[in-house]
Symmetry: C2
Subunit: 354 residues, 2 copies
Amino acid sequence: MIPPRLIFRKGALKILDQRLLPDRVKFISVKDAAATAKATKDMALRGAPLIGCAAAFGFALEIRRLRPSTSAGLRSLARRTASLLKAARPTAVALFYAADRMLNMALGFAAKNPGRFTAAARKELLDLIDREARLVTSEDAAACLAMGKLGADLLPKNCVVMTHCNAGALATMGIGTAVGVITAAHKLGKVKRAYACETRPYLQGARLTIWELMREGVPSELITDNMAAHIIKTCGVNAIVVGADRIAANGDTANKIGTYGLAVIARHHRIPFYVAAPAPTIDLLAYDGGAIVIEERSSEEVTFVKGLRIAPRGVKVRHPAFDVTPASLITALITEKGVISPVTRENIKKNLAK
Amino acid sequence: MIPPRLIFRKGALKILDQRLLPDRVKFISVKDAAATAKATKDMALRGAPLIGCAAAFGFALEIRRLRPSTSAGLRSLARRTASLLKAARPTAVALFYAADRMLNMALGFAAKNPGRFTAAARKELLDLIDREARLVTSEDAAACLAMGKLGADLLPKNCVVMTHCNAGALATMGIGTAVGVITAAHKLGKVKRAYACETRPYLQGARLTIWELMREGVPSELITDNMAAHIIKTCGVNAIVVGADRIAANGDTANKIGTYGLAVIARHHRIPFYVAAPAPTIDLLAYDGGAIVIEERSSEEVTFVKGLRIAPRGVKVRHPAFDVTPASLITALITEKGVISPVTRENIKKNLAK
């Protein structure tokens, strides 16, 4: 089984340090929003849905820590905390969704309880905030289960499936998005083999996805990212499933760097390319992929592997952490609310209205 | 400047150990064909043309070491040595070309000098074999220069070009094939920027190509293999140039794993995809790509980077070292004899007849 990713107990959040996986299972304990944001930025935790859940808990920690005693104090703290959390990473919209949801809950409470809080109101606030954070998390877990079922139905029998990065249990509080689809299909006896792309530079595929697949007993093989086209051509791959960090209103999808290339290769081989992501991943404020900010991370994450230099000193390096796959290359979006295909602005709207 | 890759002095071949680059410039000294084959197999030297040159020198070392005294002895030794060298790696045809060329030279000498050799004949044999090995090498260097000129002419002004693996000076005894095209274009002031894909698992791009480009003063950036599609889409890449390990009679091209995916991505973006390789890379005995043996190397080369494990114990891994790009995805083949475009069986025949 996969270790818990986040453990929220009053006053502290334990975060599974995914940078150490699969070598070591170790937790970091954080007690405020700043430490939660730092763990997110430093990639101790990663995966769009999980980043959102951590932000919800980080928000709850901060309210609990500073226990605002007036509605004005709560409003100010809530706004500051949401901003702090949202600054941790720029691409995953689940982070903004969760932080804004917690913020709105706090602002709503402040509106209903103007002025100085009574002792009962202060207790109610903490309970409310905690409950909302846990709700973000339980909704994520439920969404994973729903996507797993919907996605598994899309895959053919004896499926040979490929995935990129880690959109697994480790990226969520449930069974995962793309990997959840694969493990759900495996439980139905439908998966002949799963290929995990190692996902340079951070190796989420080699460290996390293949580890999850092995633990779940899925027949699986690890490949380097550049083997994908050859494996698709020669090994009968008949579906690719990936997760998403942000989906624009028209279906253009930002996901881990390498996703776009895989989608191009899938189209060339005429195999379906599925994106599985919970509904909060869809950002209706982003008209299309052009509106999505792509995080550029440090060059050291490319030039060093486990602390060892693999490229010459002084080398210039690019490190876009994500890329955008146009909706036209995506066979279907799988959300917990249903399968969106063809991927159009209208079909996305209909899905979200469900 | 790039260090010499092979230094052949009577009785020994010094081989630049490319596994240590760019950290250290160190040479291995080999004195016979078996040690040459082992260095090739272990990837102390790599790059299809260079593997061929090393085989020619390895052959010469062996004849010099055992100094056969009869035509029968020479024939037997020559056949054994050629087989030994050819077994080192299965994909690069330059290796077979060079070993067979040395073998034919030896068999021709044996035919002209039947029975026991005179002292003068034995000296003549050694001179002849040495000269032939040096000729293989000098022809390779000349072919690189010719390809560099032809390829540079194909590139537009202010070109943004991408390459994969290392088809540079380090892969040849000259300025390189694909990288030679880029450095030749740079000398004409035509290169705005060159992107080197790092080329997992062996990182020839990160360790060798970017190092060569930096040493030659080419404005260049290193990317992970899975960034290629995103960079092509967003950074104005207008040509891809790669080398080749073997080209079938119809133009299907075996090259470092990842080449095929790049070609698919280039086609999707409607940018030219060039293969630069000396004429001996074309294997007329291979009807098409299906006839090319793809070497499967050890999984440890994927799961370990610089001796450090990057994937779980017990993981299943694929490691095809090459893939095949169909001729239909190749805009032009560049050999020292000219530019072949469109890439067809007939045009390849015409080029080789020049």
